[in-house]
């Protein structure tokens, strides 16, 4: 009993991993796996901008049947501000906006809306209050959700990281330039 207490006391001063390794090979392997998983998780949850600066390029995508392939910056701003609510073929524009924290939302708020988060909220609340729109933009919580809805809802428009444009999504040129081209305005 006394000897067991002495071993326990000594182990307090041994680094945790050495203690784990000392227990058994299986425990050692588990510890390494846990460490690897922690590193992977930390990398996955880190903001995308830290991973790849190219992810800050935002593509404007629309439903594939939308009869528009290019917008000017003024038209784009007018659509995102809901000043223009119909496409030229008279179909209703459905605006899909990423929920906060996403990097592409930051880009769109600064480049298209020219607002911070508080101003963005106040803008839409005022817009709904004045009955200029029936509801605010539809909120999407992931790029996958944006991809799914923009291809399902006729007249939908949204934005996704240019590196994650999926099949079936129609990418619009802005001021005559596609994402990745020099002078593209949504970087």
């Amino acid at each position: 009993m006394t000897r067991q207490r002495a071993v326990t006391r000594r182990n307090r001063w041994i680094p945790f991993q050495r203690r784990a390794a000392a227990r058994s090979p299986v425990a050692h392997m588990r510890w390494r796996l846990a460490l690897a998983a922690t590193i992977l998780l930390a990398g996955a949850t880190r903001p995308a901008r830290a991973q790849n600066p190219a992810d800050r390029t935002v593509a404007i995508v629309v439903h594939p049947e939308t009869m528009v392939s290019e917008l000017t910056s003024t038209q784009l701003r007018s659509i995102f501000l809901a000043e223009q609510q119909f496409w030229p073929d008279h179909s209703r524009i459905t605006l899909l906006v990423r929920a906060p924290v996403a990097v592409e939302r930051e880009v769109v708020l600064s480049r298209i809306y020219r607002m911070d988060e508080a101003q963005f909220r106040q803008y839409w609340i005022a817009k709904m209050f004045r009955a200029e729109v029936a509801t605010g933009p539809k909120i999407v919580y992931s790029t996958e959700m944006a991809q799914e809805l923009v291809t399902a809802i006729r007249g939908a428009i949204t934005f996704v990281p240019a590196s994650q444009v999926g099949p079936g999504m129609k990418v619009l040129a802005i001021d005559g330039r596609k994402p990745g081209e020099p002078g593209y305005p949504l970087n």
Partner: protein
């Protein structure tokens, strides 16, 4: 004029039957609830002091299809003997296109910037109170309009011209209220407003409005012809804010050769959103003046002129809540100047569709 009286009825038929060509949203009808409220503490010369529960306003919008929408707004206002419930807005609108949207119901009158931009949304406005010229219960400018309204945006974006053209009941027997239960005479009111709001100038708006009606002036007097002209300019993008509005309200007895009597009203308000360590704070000031015609039968109860100077500080201490402290020095008619100090907490209850913003 008989043709004008038929138009509202035709529109009431047109709006609901138009929805047969509209598509239901892919996820069914969409509902957008929203609310505003406030609590104040008032120190005032010669007036009741203490806590004041302001208005609790609830708004519910239902997009039944991608073009057909119902807007509703009700308010509960504290009175000395309880609460007064009121229908503020209730209308059915069909959106044909950006340039043409048609609706029928009860609206905020489109002839005043403040009236349409803020109305009961106290949290939306910088100050604790509305300018005197557009105050609730005022007889000066009709704040509500019951009838039909055509509105739209001409060339959204670069040009950004918005218009509203309405035909309705006009003022009620109490001219401070809209004719909710029918027109008090055979003359429908006509209102028109046009605003310039280019998307390249975020927060900028300039516009003019007009309102034409016949209003009752009592049992024995002839009715009054009413003409209201208004103009405004507003810049509310963020750091600086500037709003200035002017209205000329004119009345003349409805008899041949009678001249119009004019009442002039204006206000100008400026504020500045602080940055850095003081972010969230916004000092503001406003001047107001009403120069009422002393012989206008419609405004006799106004008691003459009104002027006020307002200064205050707004603090947005949370995302949808603000605390405002305001000092007001005002004079109505030939009375003494009075001072009041108001501390007010105002808030909004709102979320974009999907439950988050």
């Amino acid at each position: 004029m008989r043709f004008l009286r038929l138009i509202p009825g035709l529109v009431l038929v047109l709006v609901p039957t138009s929805h047969v060509v509209a598509q239901a949203p892919i996820d069914g009808p969409r509902f957008q609830p929203m609310g505003f409220g406030d609590v104040s503490y008032i120190f005032a010369d010669g007036q009741a002091e203490g806590f004041l529960v302001g208005q609790l306003v609830g708004q519910l919008t239902a997009a039944l299809t991608d073009r057909l929408t119902i807007f509703t707004e009700v308010s509960g206002t504290a009175r000395s003997d309880g609460y007064a419930l009121d229908i503020e807005r209730l209308f059915l609108r069909y959106d044909f296109a950006d340039v043409f949207k048609l609706s029928a119901g009860r609206y905020h009158s489109p002839i005043s910037y403040w009236n349409t931009a803020y109305h009961h949304g106290l949290w939306l406005q910088t100050t604790t109170s509305r300018p005197g010229m557009i105050r609730f219960g005022s007889r000066l400018i009709p704040v509500h309009f019951v009838g039909i309204l055509a509105e739209g945006t001409i060339a959204p974006g670069a040009l950004g011209l918005n218009y509203a053209l309405g035909l309705g009941n006009g003022r009620g027997a109490n001219i401070a209220r809209a004719g909710d239960a029918g027109d008090v005479n055979d003359n429908r009111a006509v209102t028109f407003a046009i605003n310039w709001r280019p998307s390249s100038l975020q927060g900028f708006q300039a516009g003019v409005g007009a309102y034409i009606d016949h209003v009752p002036s009592g049992d024995t007097e002839p009715e009054l012809r009413e003409r209201i002209l208004s103009a405004h300019i507003a810049w509310t993008p963020g750091t600086p804010e500037f709003i200035a509005e002017y209205a000329r309200v004119s009345h003349a007895p409805d008899i041949a050769g009678a001249d119009f009597e004019h009442t002039h009203a204006l206000y100008a308000q400026a504020s500045w959103g602080l940055r850095g360590a003081a972010a969230g704070f916004r000092p503001y000031a406003r001047i107001e003046n009403i120069n009422a015609s002393p012989v206008d039968a419609a405004f006799t109860p106004l008691g003459g002129d009104y002027d006020a100077v307002v200064a205050g500080l707004r603090w947005d201490f949370a995302l949808l809540a603000a605390l405002k402290a305001e000092l007001r020095r005002e004079r109505a008619g030939d009375g003494e100047r009075s001072n009041s100090f108001v501390v007010q907490a105002s808030f909004a209850i709102a979320a974009l569709s999907g439950g988050a913003m």
